[in-house]
């Protein structure tokens, strides 16, 4: 014990740092710390402020102040310097509903509202039960009757006349909904030990991922009919829908597989040791976790598919994007294509942004168990 001796170098604690400021720094401090903390940041800030000061008034002027905000003939727009929203007044029904018979356009309108209602209702947690299995088929059948008609005193409208928003929504939502179970099957198949199933799933996923969507659509709508006996044609819209499902399924399958691989091996072993069968362990243990952690990439794929549906224009289906392009081809209104694009961009943004916000909410909701704060 003699080793422990007082060498005279006593521990002297350094003076405690002052407590952090209780109040938030003032705006000036915030500016100084965030926007002007170095000379180059200050320079960038100044350039950005200068640019915004130049553009925002000009943009606002074009969009609002100098714009023509009422229904008017195209000639009236030549007089105004700003946006010609008369274009949207004139064409909004064509952009939203395409070549659907004009006086019947309340039908696709009602179908779109019902369809969006279906999706929104299914988003809320209290609805996550068997009632969805009733609501969806009933809702889809009503939408179909509204669009197609032929019964209940509604005129029959063949689907080559459908267009615009109903087409975009239908292709995207039904595409993703039906692709989802297929993708889970593909992902499980790819991780299966059974060689034929595994080879099929790998082959399918790699083949579809290896070609662009445009090629799949081409095959479905241009090549496929040539293989059929003459006179037997399968509906063009249906073919495009199937192509989109096949395509989305391959991409989603890889997302789901990523989730499956991220689940620790212990979870699989725990499920096995409980004596659960393969399907039980997948349905009750593995998939709920795997699907939950892959929500961000899933929604990414959904949003991508929503926008990719506009590619059906190459097979002559009038989706929302394409009806806008036809509208701006109208000789009279040709000069106002920017207005048309802005209008459609706003619609796309509304849908994609809601999807994105919903996915963020859903993540938080499902991650309650182990949320990192």
């Amino acid at each position: 014990m003699a080793d422990i001796t007082n060498t005279g170098a006593n521990f002297v604690p350094t003076e405690a740092r002052p407590a952090p400021l209780a109040v938030r720094p003032g705006p000036l401090t915030w500016l100084k710390e965030n926007l002007f903390n170095t000379w180059y940041n200050a320079l960038i800030t100044l350039i950005v402020i200068w640019a915004l000061a130049n553009w925002i008034p000009a943009l606002f002027d074009w969009f609002v102040t100098s714009a023509l905000w009422e229904a008017a003939p195209a000639d009236a727009c030549r007089e105004v310097a700003g946006a010609c929203w008369a274009f949207v007044y004139e064409k909004w029904r064509f952009i939203l509903f395409g070549t659907y018979p004009f006086e019947q356009q309340w039908r696709p309108g009602a179908a779109v509202i019902l369809f969006i209602g279906l999706v929104v209702v299914s988003c809320f947690k209290p609805m996550w039960n068997k009632s969805l299995l009733v609501i969806w088929p009933v809702g889809l059948v009503v939408c179909w009757i509204l669009l197609s008609g032929g019964i209940l005193g509604l005129d029959y409208v063949p689907n080559n006349l459908w267009g615009g928003l109903p087409i975009t929504l239908m292709l995207a939502v039904i595409g993703c909904l039906l692709a989802f179970p297929v993708s889970i099957a593909l992902a499980l198949g790819r991780r299966s030990n059974m060689p034929i199933i595994k080879a099929f799933c790998v082959g399918y996923i790699e083949l579809i991922r290896g070609v662009p969507l445009i090629t799949v659509l081409f095959m479905a709508s241009v090549m496929f009919p040539l293989f059929m006996p003459e006179g037997l044609t399968i509906d063009k819209l249906l073919r495009a829908q199937v192509a989109i499902i096949m395509f989305a399924a391959a991409y989603l399958a890889e997302v789901v597989r990523g989730g499956l691989q991220a689940i620790p091996k212990g979870q699989y072993e725990a499920a096995d040791s409980m004596g659960l069968s393969y399907w039980q362990s997948m349905v009750f243990i593995i998939l709920p976790q795997a699907l939950k952690i892959t929500i961000p990439p899933q929604v990414n794929t959904f949003i991508g598919m929503f926008k990719d549906t506009s590619l059906v224009l190459i097979v002559g289906i009038f989706d929302l994007m394409f009806t806008m392009r036809v509208a701006i081809n109208d000789l009279e209104w040709r000069a106002y294509y920017i207005e048309g694009m802005v209008f459609v961009a706003i619609l796309y943004f509304l849908f994609c942004y809601s999807m994105s916000k919903y996915s963020q909410w859903l993540e938080g909701e499902l991650h309650r168990g182990h949320k990192r704060l």
Partner: protein
């Protein structure tokens, strides 16, 4: 003499039986009649030729041809359903039988005529690649374009024609390539190039609709390619083929004879011109020979007018003069065989 008159009687008897016999309808024509609807492939959206208007109703020169054909075959111009087709889709759609007829500003070429299992009914519109320049530049012909920059859409036959013709004539030029129509137009009207080239019909539309001031731009009379556009059918149904041709010709013949939608009733009642009477069904069995009602051409003209009226309604708003599409009697090359 007696012998001869017997022979003449026999010949006229045969001629009578032949003319009284309705034309044997082919498979495709039967299908159209059974379905009671003509399915017509049209452009997805080309102003003046095939485009849906603000109410979603198909309009345009190619579209009216289909309506007229439906009127001839089925007696009702509304019995036609339009299938919008992209340029890559059009031939497979026709070959697979998804459409009965393709009326989609398709250029008649040897390859298409010979190798697609399809055939062209005739030329509904003569187009050709032309040039638009700024009036102030004083370019009056191709030779003036030496050293000029030319705006053109990439990957089109337009680009290839331009290269071929300018190389052949030894004209030096600088191509400025763009992917999409709107980009080319913006570039041209902002002065990024001196010349804009595409089909003459499209040039006229662009000058009318997109130019800040149409008078500042000139479309040169030179055309560097032949683009005869016409309806296209699957092979194997000569009856349908004959009807589709004669719907074209009826509209031309009507214009040549001065029959319009306004005076058609008057013409049928009072015209002493035998051709007019045969065309409108006042005499002869022209309709029956084609397997149609005898008033088929009368119906078309009273509803749509003659070729000139259709042209005026659809193409003139594009700012395109008749040019090659004038009748042969007016210096153009539109010409119908005799109706007899």
């Amino acid at each position: 003499m007696k012998k001869l008159s017997i022979a003449a009687a026999a010949a006229s008897a045969i001629a009578l039986t032949v003319s009284a016999m309705p034309a044997q309808a082919g498979e495709q024509l039967d299908a159209i009649v059974d379905r009671d609807e003509l399915i017509c492939g049209v452009n997805t959206g080309l102003a003046g030729f095939g485009i849906a208007d603000s109410q979603g109703v198909w309009t345009g020169f190619d579209v009216e041809y289909c309506r007229a054909l439906a009127l001839a075959i089925l007696g009702d111009s509304s019995k036609v359903s339009f299938v919008p087709l992209s340029s890559v889709q059009r031939f497979p759609a026709l070959q697979a039988g998804e459409v009965d007829i393709l009326s989609r500003n398709t250029t008649w070429t040897l390859t298409r005529d010979a190798s697609l299992g399809a055939t062209f009914a005739g030329t509904w519109f003569y187009d050709g690649q032309g040039f638009m320049v700024r009036a102030e530049d004083g370019i009056g012909s191709l030779e003036d374009m030496n050293g000029a920059s030319v705006c053109v859409e990439s990957g089109t036959t337009t680009e290839l024609n331009l290269a071929d013709v300018f190389a052949a004539r030894g004209i030096d030029y600088e191509p400025v390539l763009f992917e999409a129509l709107q980009e080319v137009l913006t570039a041209f009207f902002e002065g990024r190039c001196d010349v804009y080239t595409t089909d003459a019909s499209a040039l006229a539309a662009v000058r009318t609709a997109n130019a800040p001031n149409p008078d500042d731009y000139v479309i040169l009379p030179d055309l560097i390619s032949k683009e005869p556009l016409g309806p296209m059918l699957r092979r194997g149904d000569d009856e349908l083929y004959a009807i589709s041709r004669w719907v074209l010709f009826a509209a031309l013949e009507a214009e040549e004879k001065g029959v319009t939608s306004e005076n058609v009733d008057d013409m049928l009642a009072n015209s002493t011109d035998p051709t007019v009477q045969r065309l409108l069904g006042g005499s002869g069995e022209m309709g029956a020979l084609l397997g149609l009602r005898n008033e088929w051409a009368y119906d078309i003209i009273s509803e749509f007018g003659n070729y000139g009226e259709m042209y005026e309604r659809n193409i003139t708003p594009l700012g395109l003069p008749r040019g090659l599409n004038a009748l042969w009697t007016d210096g153009g090359i539109q010409y119908a065989p005799p109706v007899r």
